[in-house]
């Protein structure tokens, strides 16, 4: 092969490399020209730095802390962990579904006209509007078996010595925690579902009325199909939030009585700071990932759905 042939052979290769480089640059630069690209990078940098420092680093550090399989063996060997997983499942399944179904029904009620409905809505959203900590601490005190408001009312009105709501029975305490969670968060999801209902074109209801649809049929064939996707997305979101919820359990029952109402979030904190084993605490929380990751994937897939499915 002489020199000219070598040059001829090298030419297409250089052209291909050049084209690939240009394509790569266009991929990164989009339609930005000249200094626009540098400015764009400059504007993105602070966010990227914050994201790296406060999201990526803590997540990687957390996974690194909880990386040892021995931690999970240790967790599984503890009776409190098994009970905590059961509590977490009950808390999430009952708490989320009762809350969301109640929110769906109440969103219909609050769509009615009338000033008193609006006034009632204002009162209804108050639990969500006030900070979580004082409200859960108030519930904790209200449910105190000896001097709490609830048992004092029972005694004053009916002469009944009420039970120790948070003090003796796991199920009463867990029930109190779930009820508190529902009380706190149902207003928020009700408002979200009301927004979904408001987006339904009025003409569909008018058409249903002309066809002689009853109230139940209007709900079954118009409202529910149109808010179903929103309902599902909200349920998934709420499940993810509730899995990581710490406040309701910590401030209402404190994980008691006798450590019987812990959920993974509170047990993780307990292991990290009370038992002074941060690695075990992180492992406790990470053990929720097998449930959390499919939920996030499902949520992402649902969020990609752009069409209404009637």
């Amino acid at each position: 092969m002489d020199g000219a042939q070598v040059l001829d052979a090298a030419e297409p290769l250089a052209t291909t490399t050049f084209t690939a480089a240009r394509r790569g640059r266009r991929y990164w630069r989009g339609n930005l020209q000249g200094s626009e690209y540098a400015w764009a990078v400059a504007f993105v940098m602070p966010y990227a730095a914050v994201f790296l420092a406060f999201v990526v680093y803590p997540v990687i550090y957390g996974v690194w802390l909880g990386r040892s399989p021995a931690l999970y063996e240790e967790l599984a060997s503890e009776p409190i962990y098994v009970r905590t997983v059961v509590n977490t499942v009950l808390y999430v399944v009952i708490g989320v579904n009762v809350k969301m179904f109640g929110a769906l029904l109440l969103s219909g009620f609050f769509m009615r006209r009338g000033w008193w409905v609006k006034a009632l809505l204002l009162i209804f959203v108050l639990p969500w509007a006030i900070p979580a900590l004082p409200s859960f601490m108030s519930i904790h005190w209200m449910l105190n078996g000896q001097w709490g408001l609830l048992n004092n009312i029972l005694w004053t009105l009916f002469g009944i010595d009420g039970p120790g709501w948070l003090e003796t029975s796991r199920w009463l305490a867990l029930g109190s925690v779930i009820t508190s969670h529902i009380w706190k968060w149902m207003p928020f999801w009700t408002v979200i579902l009301m927004a979904g209902r408001m987006a339904i074109p009025q003409e569909l209801y008018e058409a249903a009325d002309i066809d002689g649809a009853t109230r139940l049929q209007r709900f079954n064939y118009v409202t529910f199909p149109l808010v179903a996707n929103l309902y599902l997305v909200c349920t998934l979101l709420s499940t993810i939030f509730t899995l990581g919820d710490f406040n309701s359990v910590y401030f209402v029952s404190g994980g008691g009585p006798a450590l019987s109402t812990h959920v993974l979030a509170t047990l993780g904190i307990r292991n990290a700071f009370e038992v002074a084993r941060p690695d075990l605490g992180v492992a406790t929380v990470l053990s929720a990932l097998p449930l959390m990751i499919p939920l996030v994937i499902l949520l992402m897939r649902k969020l990609r759905t752009t069409e209404v499915q009637l």
Binding site: S35, W147, G164, E167, G254, G256, P257, F273, E274, V275
Partner: protein, 461 residues
């Protein structure tokens, strides 16, 4: 106005970065005489005043600066655990529960600075139990060394509402002098008080709790020692969980506490009490008496003279055989984590703090809620044994003049983990809620403790 170009923006950023880099050595130099301290916020305001006075005194004497942060009990522990985990630590740390929580395990893992030279400066003054309680086993060096410098101590006395005792028709002076009989003395008062309209009153403020962090464990251990089970861990760090005497004491302790609860002499909420809840319940006069560490219950009402005078503080009765029961002496003090930037200045500050006159003034300003770690101070300063303040006098006598023993995490760090797991509270709950016999609950708890201690084999002490 000059237009901001990309080049000028980059130039500016570079200048800021370069200035910061060049200036850093000067900042570091300035920090050489500053010691950073995380300190527990006092239970009463006076404790913080006392600490500020110590800081002021040290700054004046040394010319150094103390950059301190007073942090409440629970968040401080979270910060300490976080700091020790990440290595981003201040120079001096202190927490009232650290000697039985984070210090044993971090000493074992060689994460703390050896303070033997600091402790040595006051060796002759220290209470023998306090000195022993500062020595922890380091698994890297295979040696015991001082990993904190004691300057305050505490024991658990009894706290009693005298007005409730009298309202029930009894006299405190008639209380029996032995352990079981002493507790039982208060039980009939519950019915008498309820008959007089006090619906929610209970006789005993026992803490069979799993919430903790400290009170449930402390209560159980006082019962354990009273029943002769103090040998559960010996000073060489070896557990004696199969010792029949220890096992019998564990069973008796579980039986007494759980039976009193099941018979209704204890507020039902005690099963989930945290360390503040028992104090609150006592202040609300939900119970006639309870056993609890320090005299915080009394000190909290120091400015309400009538209530302060109505409470009675009592030391420990004799055991059931008529012998004196040693109190478990809680010993507290600051420690230095490895990775601290100014270890020498930190040590100087601690040396200043543990001087008898300095620590004594600090503790007195804090209304005597904590006792000194030096018995001579109690004997020579009239503040501690003044009969005019019955609370401080009874407490000081129990903690510094009567016999004491250290807490078990000092001997073996595994016991700190066992305490944190609230194994004794869980055993009590097993009897109360799950219907286990005290024998079965004792077996379960001892087995669990054995499994934890097996992770901490002590080769030499």
């Amino acid at each position: 106005m000059k237009k901001l170009s990309r080049r000028s923006a980059l130039r500016g950023s570079f200048s800021v970065a370069a200035t910061a880099t060049i200036a850093r050595p000067f900042l570091a130099h300035a920090a050489a005489t500053t010691v950073s301290v995380w300190w527990p916020q006092g239970f009463v305001r006076e404790e913080d005043v006392g600490f500020r006075a110590v800081v002021e005194g040290y700054e004046k004497a040394s010319g150094n600066k103390v950059d301190f942060t007073l942090i409440p009990f629970a968040p401080l522990m979270q910060k300490i655990v976080g700091a020790l985990t990440t290595g981003d630590v201040p120079d001096v740390l202190s927490h009232d529960t650290a000697p039985v929580t984070v210090i044993p395990q971090n000493a074992w893992n060689d994460k703390l600075v050896d303070l033997s030279d600091v402790v040595e400066t006051q060796r002759s003054q220290y209470h023998p139990t306090a000195l022993l309680a500062s020595q922890y086993y380091n698994n890297a060096t295979k040696k015991r060394r001082a990993y904190f410098a004691p300057f305050k101590t505490s024991v658990s006395p009894f706290h009693v509402w005298n007005s409730l005792v009298e309202k029930a028709g009894y006299k405190l002076s008639d209380a029996p002098k032995t352990w079981d009989a002493f507790w039982d003395f208060f039980k009939p008062m519950q019915k008498k008080l309820r008959d007089k309209g006090m619906r929610g009153v209970y006789a005993l403020g026992l803490q069979p709790t799993t919430t903790g962090p400290a009170d449930g464990n402390a209560l159980f251990h006082y019962f354990l020692v009273a029943y002769g089970g103090n040998g559960i861990i010996t000073p060489d760090g070896k557990p004696h969980l199969d010792d029949p005497q220890v096992k019998e004491a564990v069973i008796k302790a579980l039986a007494f506490i759980s039976t009193a609860y099941k018979e209704g002499y204890v507020p039902p909420g005690a099963l989930s009490w945290n360390d503040a809840d028992d104090n609150n319940a006592f202040h609300a006069k939900q119970m006639v008496m309870y056993l609890d560490g320090t005299i915080s219950a009394e000190v909290a009402l120091y400015h309400k003279k009538e209530e302060y005078a109505d409470m009675v503080t009592l030391g420990l009765p004799l055991d059931n055989a008529g012998k004196q029961i040693p109190a478990q002496l809680g010993v507290q003090g600051p420690f230095i984590p490895k990775g601290a930037k100014n270890i020498e200045v930190a040590k100087e500050f601690i040396k200043y703090l543990i001087q008898p006159q300095v620590s004594n003034e600090y503790l007195k300003t804090g209304l005597g809620r904590w006792l000194p770690a030096m018995p001579d101070l109690v004997k020579t300063d009239p503040f501690w044994l003044d009969p005019k303040d019955q609370h401080v006098a009874a407490y000081a006598r129990e903690g510094q003049l009567d016999p004491t023993v250290p807490t078990y995490p000092v001997f073996n760090p595994g016991y700190a983990e066992a305490n944190a797991q609230q194994i004794w509270g869980t055993a009590e709950a097993d009897v109360i809620r799950e219907g286990l016999t005290p024998e079965a609950a004792a077996d379960k708890a001892l087995k669990r403790i054995g499994a934890i201690l097996a992770k901490y084999p002590i080769e030499q002490s």
